[in-house]
Amino acid sequence: MTKKNQLTKESGLSRRSFLKGVGLTSAGLAVTSGGEIFAEASGDASVKIISPGGATITLEVNGKKHQLKVEPRETLVEVLRDRLHLTGTKIGCDRGACGACTVIVDGKNVTSCLMLAIDAEGKSIETIEGLEKEGELHPVQKSFIEYDALQCGFCTPGMIMSSKNLLDHNPSPNLADVKHAVRGNLCRCGTYPKVFQAVLAASKQNKGE
């Protein structure tokens, strides 16, 4: 066997792991699925390894801690919606392209369909459900209602999270800033002009103008 063949046979992202046609199920999945964390020796330290069956983690969502067992392959949006029943966050494309699943993690907006839940442990997660405080909607939410910035509403939670994230970092955005901030949020109903108006108005309300 040539050196090249040996390497590609072995290496992860290569010939062997490209699944051809319907051969998907044959992908080397011979791993235990019991839920456990084990350690693998590496030099003088050991590396934490979570088995495919998953492990119990703590997720802090909207200031509340939840303990639950997740498999490494579960995405954050799946856990939020299916396990914590926080169904405000939507799944559109499930591939990072539409922004319907946008949540804020440690002060940054991210697509939760491309983030593993396990990676969100120890971080602060904000979802649309957490914006209302003591019965009061967030200024961006109020403004979306006032300016009629939604039609079907499917993109709206993600759109609001990106807008809220903008105002958290820049309380006085201009139109260009707002457009920039919601670039990753697609709206099939084409509500963009109203979204821009609503966010600009919310920034003024925030400052009591």
Partner: protein, 333 residues
């Protein structure tokens, strides 16, 4: 997605040993990896999560005044990095126009460079294409508007997806690649693999090798650079054409130009023809147009993408003008 086990190393040696496991791959931001797994294109049995490794997030000066950027810095961080203004601005320009704000907060420099092509035949598990070890390139006779305009005669007409790589090649950047045994510096141009070299490979990394940092050479006095991506929609999009250039400009005269095209070939396409037109000349709108024509005279369009060669010609001329401080939209010369 398939089931997998999840290794969480804290440092580079741990990462290198955890990836020795068969079926293991590194995962940084996970943006491309999870996408490929959801599509059933790959099914690794272990992901080695390298995002907790502090050493991969460091920014430091190199001995000769260059900049070493840790592979795990996010695209958002690169877009905002103050040290990268001026001569190196092509890099933050490329980072700032990559993907969406949400993706830029997850995606990393290293992952961006290693990402797979966006070719829809490659990314569809029903097509056993030559880049996946199959016997044919479906794009050659298929939907190929976004496929290669250059270097498209070797049985796979994919284009390289990394916008970051275009800017890095223009700036002459290198990658520090580390294994348990050694460390080597490789230019970004040599890192990416064309179908003529190995049709199934995208880059030269082998199991047990990690990109530790991206090394930018110290900028030269009077060096400038520029990157621009032409998209179909303004908000965010993959490129129809993208161009990065860099050179030293004294008294308006261009020295040592690099002109790199992205979304044009399986690897960043260096246009020596355009560079030859620019070298030693004063940058004008006319000269920029001449260089753009020279660049595209070498194109070998596929059945559907000749129109994109025209778009490229316009974008190359503009980017050269912008870099040279000339208004590309002015009338006349």
């Amino acid at each position: 997605m398939n089931k997998f086990e999840y290794a969480m190393p804290q440092d580079i040696p741990q990462a290198l040993s955890s990836v020795q496991h068969s079926g293991a791959v590194f995962k940084a931001g996970g943006v491309d990896l999870l996408d490929l797994m959801k599509e059933g294109i790959i099914a690794p049995s272990r992901l080695v999560h390298i995002n907790n490794i502090e050493a991969l997030k460091v920014i430091s000066r190199t001995k000769d005044g260059g900049l070493a950027l840790g592979a795990n810095l996010t695209i958002a961080e690169i877009a905002e990095l103050r040290e990268l203004s001026g001569a190196h601005q092509a890099l933050p320009q490329a980072a700032g126009s990559t993907a969406t704000p949400q993706i830029r907060n997850l995606a990393t420099l290293g992952g961006n460079l290693c990402q797979e092509t966006r070719c829809w035949y490659f990314r569809d598990q029903n097509f056993s294409c030559s880049h996946k070890g199959g016997s044919q390139c479906f794009a050659l006779q298929g939907e190929n508007y976004y496929h290669a305009l250059f270097d498209n005669k070797s049985g796979c007409v994919r284009v390289n997806a990394s916008s970051i790589s275009i800017a890095l090649v223009a700036l002459g950047a290198k990658l520090r690649i580390t294994s348990a045994e050694s460390s080597r510096d490789v230019s970004v141009a040599e890192f990416l693999v064309a179908p003529s070299q190995d049709i199934e490979k995208t880059h030269i990394l082998e199991r047990g090798e990690i990109i530790e940092a991206i090394i930018l050479p110290a900028s030269k006095p009077h060096q400038r650079s520029f990157y621009y991506k032409q998209k179909e929609k303004q908000s965010f999009d993959w490129p129809v054409a993208e161009v990065a250039v860099s050179w030293v400009q004294k008294g308006g005269v261009c020295e040592n130009p690099t002109v790199i095209l992205g979304a044009a070939a399986p690897t960043p396409w260096r246009s020596k023809k355009a560079e030859a037109v620019l070298a030693g000349q004063k940058i004008t709108k006319k000269l920029a147009e001449k260089a753009a024509q020279a660049a595209m005279s070498e194109a070998t369009p596929l059945s559907q993408n000749a129109n994109r060669a025209k778009v490229f010609e316009a974008v190359i001329a503009r980017v050269i003008s912008w870099a040279g401080g000339v208004d590309p939209l002015q009338e006349g010369k």
